[in-house]
Symmetry: C2
Subunit: 272 residues, 2 copies
Amino acid sequence: MLMNSSSPIGIFDSGIGGLTVLKEIFSKLPHEHTIYLGDTARVPYGIRSPETVTRYSFENTRFLSARQIKILIIACNTASSVSLDAVREHFPVSVVGVIEPGAKAAAAATQNKKVGVIGTEATVKSNSYTRAIHAIDESIAVFSVPCPLFVPIVEEGWTDDRITEMVAERYLSAIREKGIDTLVLGCTHYPLLKPVLTKVMGSSVRLIDSAIETARQIRDTLTSLSLLNGSSGPARHEFFVTDSPDKFLSVGERFLGRKIEHIEMTKLEMEV
Amino acid sequence: MLMNSSSPIGIFDSGIGGLTVLKEIFSKLPHEHTIYLGDTARVPYGIRSPETVTRYSFENTRFLSARQIKILIIACNTASSVSLDAVREHFPVSVVGVIEPGAKAAAAATQNKKVGVIGTEATVKSNSYTRAIHAIDESIAVFSVPCPLFVPIVEEGWTDDRITEMVAERYLSAIREKGIDTLVLGCTHYPLLKPVLTKVMGSSVRLIDSAIETARQIRDTLTSLSLLNGSSGPARHEFFVTDSPDKFLSVGERFLGRKIEHIEMTKLEMEV
């Protein structure tokens, strides 16, 4: 491999959600070069089968690996849930998903050993957060609930909205009644809903933002591999999508909190 | 071509929505054999670029054409909007989309020459209903609005729900104020929202259900081509999906209003 400490961090997501992770990378690791791939031609992954999501993850990883990345972030909860192990097995690159960092933070945060997890259908069905939390502490009770309307609501921009509150109330009332003290936002779109979620859950419930935890994990891993970029020059950020760059730009800048300078369309080399 | 009057009707959609069209085919043409393809590995089409949707339409058409269909229904408003002409040009099969039948019915129904159209982002952006209605009568004013939350709401099963009413109110109040007397349901999921839409728009606004109009058009076209199935034996219905047959079954039976006996997974021969 031709990579070294000045190589970029590779990051893929099914679409724009992973930009919440990238935003935290920018904040914690401002000197790192990055390449982001949003698979907008096949978004969303959350409604697809594990086999199909794994196939898509392989194609995304192949695309980024060809660009000499030094570490790969699977910034999509669904893809992390169902394909992280397979990607690690098949590609000779360090891989960090968003599940383990979120699970670790949740296990550390809970006082009463009752944790809630919200995510897409696929993430919840995969049980991956429950398994990751139980690998740390088996005595923690984990209550999961799929929230399929949250992603389109965030993409509509209805983040501070009476309708969104009612939808959140519908999805969350059952896990609130379980008395959880910690809630994992198990989808990269959800950090934009933090104010609504706090309103519905109460301010005593700690919200775990996987994006922040993942960026922390990346910093730790790069440090331990001696792969932090030593240069303090300006970082280079590349963006690729498989469809609709215009929409990615307009919605993406809201997620990223800054301008996206340059974006390219790519057709992945798709397996049949 | 090896097709004749006993050949099946081919029908594709991005997912399950097209089953509302198939349901009307079953009702109006009970002796016709059918093959349905739901491209559930790449649903939804409504958020994708015209180029990508056209590529997907070609792959779906190739799959069905190989099965000796006598006529093809593009039972997806987005795919009809952006790819119908290209499919007609490239494949030697009669093709009926869902736009023209809906536009024709709307033009015939409106008294005050004010028509509303609701659909996905891609359908609305394509302006295809406006063009099709204006091709019939240029003096009709057409008001379109994208309703991206309606599809996930229908898939959640929240068809009779206070939240859905509020979302409909948000999307529709502007076109209600235009004084339209006719509203085209420009997405195959929307017929399941008829009660809510009537509540929000008022019972004097005529709802145009593209599924019903398309089935009528198919009957007329097959009649004029002398391709109606003469046999009165039991009809054969095949279902194919590109992903997650289980979910298709559970949600699909609600759309179709009857059991789906047999379903197969297929990988399309995808173009790169």
